[in-house]
Subunit: 245 residues, 2 copies
C-alpha cells in the first residue's frame, strides 16, 4: 500500500511519524505546499483549489490512500477532494474526533480543543463533538505554539509562558485535542501543564482510523519520499529532526 | 502629495504611523498583500513579481511616491520597481542604514541588527553598513517577535523570555537596527533589555529620508485609505489599534 500525506507545510510530519512507527504502508509520499503556507488565513475556495492541485500532484505516484495532515484542508476541502478521486481521503479532524470518542464515552467530559486561530474559528471540532453528544467543550486558539515549534523550541520558559497565557482560564479538563499537527512536539509539556490531562494527537488518531476502518497491518519496512512546493531542503531538514531519520 | 505605502501584510502600518505623526502627505494609500504574506520565505523572482503587481494596483491612485514598508521587498525588488515607474521608490533598508549613519559616525560602534530569518539571511543590512565602513555588526534573527506582536503582545513575560533567548550572547551594543516593521511596537522593551541602547526604527528612518532628500514639509491633515488583498477588515482593525484611529 502506498499513501500520500498532504499538508500546507511541515506540521504534517508529526502524522507521518505516527504512521511510520506503526509501519502501516510500504511507501509514503509526503507533499508540503510550503510555497503557500499557511492555509489557515486563506478562504475556503482558495484552500479547495490548492488542495485539488495537490491531488493532481499525487496522481504522479499512483497512491492507494490520501491522508490530509492539515487542519485547514481537513476543515474545508475533504469533500471536494473525495469527489475528485476514487481512493479514500481521510483527514485529521474526523480522525481526531473519533479518537476522542474512543478515548472517553462520558459525554460530560471537559474537553479542551486547541489549534491555530483559523482552526478554532472554523468551529469544526466543536460542531462534530456536539453532534456526538459531548457538551462541555472549550476551544482556545494557541497560535504562538506554531512558530515556536518551527523554531525548534519544544520546552522551556517560552512554551511555559505561552501556556500560562493561553490556559489561564482553564480550570478542569479531562481531554485535550491537539487540533494542530505542530502540537505533538510539545504534547508532554501541554499535558503536564494541564495536570496530566490525556491528549488526543492527530498522528495517533489517524493511525487508529487506519487500523480500525481500513484494517491495515504492519509491513516489513516503509519507504518515504518528501516533496515541497518551495525550499524542499528545509522540509527534509525538519523531517530529519522530527522523525529522527 | 499622495504616497503609496506597500507591505506584504500589516507590519508596514508602523511606518505609516511615523509618517502620519509628521503629516508629510495630503493622502496615504496603504496596500497590504495579506493574501500572500509572508514574503520572507519566498524566492526573489516571486517577490519581484508580487511587487510589480502591487505597483499596478497603485497606478489606480496616481501616487507621487511609493514607500516600501517591507524588508523583503526592500531587499529584492526596489530596483525592479524603480525601473517600472517614474515616481521615487524608497525602502526601509536604505533608509534604516542612512538613519544609522546619521545617528552615529563612529565606525567602531557595536551595531546589532535584528529581523526575521529571511531579512537576516539576506545579509543586506550588514552589507550596506560595511560599505559605509562600519565593522562591528552582529545580526540576529528574532522571528518570534512577529507573531507575538500580531497577537497584540507588546510586553510581559513572553517578550521577556524571547529577548533572553535571542540576546543571550549580546554583550555590548551601541545601536540596534529594528530590521522588521513589526518591531517598533516593542521598541521600548528591546531598548530597555539592551541597557537603553538607541534603536533605529524603519518609520522614523523613512521620515528622516523624506524630510532630507525630498524636503517634505508638514501639511494640514493627512487622509488615509487601507487596502488588502485578503481580509481587509483585519487590516483595518489592526490599523485602528496600532495607529489609534
Amino acid at each position: 500500500m502506498r499513501a500520500g500525506v498532504f499538508d500546507s507545510g511541515v506540521g504534517g510530519l508529526t502524522v507521518v511519524k505516527s504512521i511510520l512507527e506503526e509501519k502501516l504502508f510500504d511507501e509514503i509520499i509526503y507533499y508540503g505546499d510550503t510555497a503557500r503556507v499557511p492555509y489557515g488565513p486563506k478562504d475556503k475556495n482558495t484552500i479547495i483549489s490548492y488542495s485539488l492541485e495537490a491531488l493532481e500532484f499525487f496522481k504522479n505516484f499512483d497512491i492507494d490512500m490520501l491522508i490530509i495532515a492539515c487542519n485547514s484542508v481537513s476543515a474545508y476541502a475533504i469533500d471536494e477532494l473525495q469527489k475528485n478521486t476514487t481512493i479514500p481521503v481521510i483527514g485529521v479532524i474526523e480522525s481526531g474526533v473519533l479518537a476522542l470518542k474512543s478515548s472517553t464515552d462520558d459525554k460530560n467530559s471537559d474537553i479542551l480543543v486547541i489549534g491555530t486561530s483559523a482552526t478554532i474559528n472554523s468551529n469544526l471540532y466543536d460542531a462534530h463533538l456536539r453532534q456526538l453528544g459531548y457538551e462541555n467543550i472549550v476551544s482556545i486558539p494557541t497560535p504562538l505554539f506554531v512558530p515556536m515549534v518551527e523554531e525548534g523550541i519544544f520546552d522551556g520558559a517560552l512554551i511555559e509562558e505561552a501556556m500560562k497565557l493561553y490556559f489561564k482560564d482553564v480550570k478542569k479538563t479531562d481531554r485535550v485535542i491537539l487540533g494542530c499537527t505542530h502540537f505533538p512536539l510539545i504534547e508532554n509539556e501541554i499535558s503536564r501543564f494541564l495536570n496530566g490531562t490525556k491528549t488526543i494527537h492527530s498522528g495517533d488518531a489517524i493511525v487508529q482510523l487506519l487500523k480500525t476502518r481500513y484494517d491495515l497491518k504492519p509491513v516489513a519496512d516503509t519507504k518515504i519520499s518528501f516533496f515541497a512546493s518551495s525550499n524542499p531542503d528545509n522540509l527534509k531538514n525538519v523531517a530529519k529532526k522530527w522523525l529522527n531519520l
